[in-house]
Amino acid sequence: MADIPSDAPQHCPGTASEQAGKTSACQGCPNQNLCSSGATKAPDPAIEEIAEKMLTVKHKILVLSGKGGVGKSTFSAHLAHALASDATKEVALLDVDICGPSIPRIMGLEGEQVAGLSLCLSPRYVEDNLAVMSIGFLLSSPDDAVIWRGPKKNGMIKQFLRDVDWGELDYLIVDTPPGTSDEHLSIVQYLSSARIDGAVIITTPQEVSLQDVRKEIRFCQKVQLPIIGVVENMSGFVCPKCKNTSQIFPPTTGGAERMCEEMNLTLLGRVPLDPRIGKSCDEGKSFLTEVPDSPAAAAYHSIVQSIQAYCLSHVTREESAG
């Protein structure tokens, strides 16, 4: 973890970094001696604090992809809606895409910023049992850019996990940005003492996407994050006029199915392209309630059921292991 003290210079590597106190940026920083002595590299107490907080959260699911624009946020949002359709379940959606927070719009919570209360970390509620948290809520204008380097992003993620009053939850879904960098390392590290059920990996069928997704899978294996399965999104488009299917993002190397075979992963399902999905997201509505009879909605429901089954069997295994 890399923390940035408030009096640190611009290129502070973070107090817990191996470079702490030693980089050229550290010259003149009041913390330099402390950092270079190694005192700041003790395990971050936040990890235990977060683990404590997470005791009231039954299931934690990360939604990942090495590739951008494959539908992580869309999927996260609809997973949250689907799980929350059971009124007896408490669900929360945490958006850790600090630079490109799409979740507020997709969940119909744009404009929910509380002006002047930028430290306010209360989640916003879409339904009584569906809470959402995103840096988008802390920005006062849609043009505000969050131009932060890694260490500052990590600090925000720590706050989201430790300081947001999540309460008792059945499911916490974490939507991530594309890549394998600060945000991903931080989420995994901060949750390292709290059990993560697993990751759902989103991809589109083409090799340009799979190429990046394989790296994400390797990342998961490296950090010992279990993978619940893979969702192939934008899997074919059925023309509304002539009903022929086109492969807009062609699976030239066998798509997610072959990748799953090769990497011994579960293919949770395929979701076709449907222009009404994008429209629902833009309007902040749930596609599952707007167009319940579409093939895409059916695909989502089937995938959600598989994820629920995985989470429940996971608990059973843990309980019987004592």
């Binding site: 890399a2 290129h11 590597p13 973070g14 970094s17 470079q19 980089t23 090495g66 590739k67 951008g68 624009g69 494959v70 946020s73 630079c99 490109g100 799409s102 719009r105 849609p142 043009d143 505000d144 850019a145 969050v146 131009i147 380097r149 890694g150 260490p151 992003k153 940005p177 594309p178 890549g179 394998t180 960098s181 600060d182 390392l185 589109t204 083409q206 090799e207 340009v208 190429q211 990046d212 394989r214 790296k215 390797r218 990342f219 488009f237 023309c239 006029k241 002539c242 022929n244 086109s246 492969q247 807009i248 993002f249 062609p250 030239t252 392209l273 222009p275 994008g278 997201c281 833009d282």
Partner: protein, 273 residues
């Protein structure tokens, strides 16, 4: 002797006429695809082009240009870029070339990414280029700050093209990227709307899969130039997948025409600032 003089005086970008960043706040809108296609279009019109791929976590350009996994060599002036052809009309540098295993994840935090990008900007021996296109990952973070800071040290940034898809979820992120440009003093050369409608190859019906009109609206809203739109074309996505030159295989397509028009407008814009 001349090369040494050049290096001492101006560094490895001294003989690069123009540098353009390809940005988007949003992932998956086609930055790498359009960087590749614009490079090919510019080359097609006789320019010497380079591509610097600073997407360290997801370097897509090597596959799109079908260069495989070449060995990267050093010369006196630094790294030698990989050329896609014997005429050296299109040069490329990507972290993809430095990885032993193509599936290996680059799991680096910001400071390490910043350091490598600094090297990429100053230590690649580009030689003479008309245009250097810089492909970036989505966001407004370490990579973007690093590439901009390092380019500015050599006084070499003409501006940025921003890519979006039509829908609000995309333009919402690109608005933030526009703010990034304004805050960092980076000239916005224009906005391109990608995945702008899909024409069914069976019946020619046009479907707006990712909504409609957002790119042009965004340009109006932010006072930016609208460079044009590129349709969703499975022939293009297949071509990119296979690392083929779309311009050679489909020179008469509407898609090529759209891309070429954007390339020419870009060229005019940077040659006459």
């Amino acid at each position: 002797v001349e090369r040494w003089v050049m290096m001492l005086q101006g560094g490895n970008l001294a003989q690069v006429q123009h540098v353009v960043l390809i940005l988007s706040g949003k992932g998956g809108v086609g930055k790498s695809t359009l960087t590749t296609e614009l490079a090919l279009a510019l080359r097609h019109s006789g320019k010497k082009v380079g591509i610097l791929d600073v997407d360290l976590c997801g370097p897509s350009i090597p596959r799109m240009l079908s260069v495989g996994k070449p060995e990267v060599h050093q010369c006196d002036l630094g790294w030698v870029p990989v050329y896609t052809d014997a005429q050296k009309s299109l040069a490329l540098m990507s972290i993809g070339f430095l990885l032993e295993d193509p599936d290996e994840a680059v799991v680096w935090r910001g400071p390490k990414k910043t350091a490598l990008i600094g090297q990429f900007v100053s230590d690649v021996a580009w030689g003479e280029l008309d245009v250097l296109l810089v492909d970036t990952p989505p966001g407004t973070s370490d990579e973007h700050l690093a590439v901009l800071e390092n380019l500015k040290k050599q006084h070499k940034v003409d501006g940025a093209i921003l890519i979006t898809t039509p829908q609000a979820v995309s333009t919402g992120d690109v608005r933030r990227e526009i703010t990034f440009c304004k805050k960092t003093g980076l000239r916005i050369l224009g906005i391109v709307e990608n995945m702008s409608g899909f024409v069914c190859p069976h019946c020619s019906e046009c479907s707006n899969i990712f909504s409609k009109g957002g790119g042009e609206e965004l340009a109006k809203l932010t006072g930016s130039v609208y460079l044009g739109s590129v349709p969703l074309d499975p022939l293009l996505t297949t071509s990119i997948e296979e690392g083929k030159d779309f311009i050679q295989t489909f020179p008469d397509s509407a898609t090529f025409s759209a891309i070429n028009s954007i390339a020419q407008t870009l060229l005019t814009s940077i040659q006459n600032p």
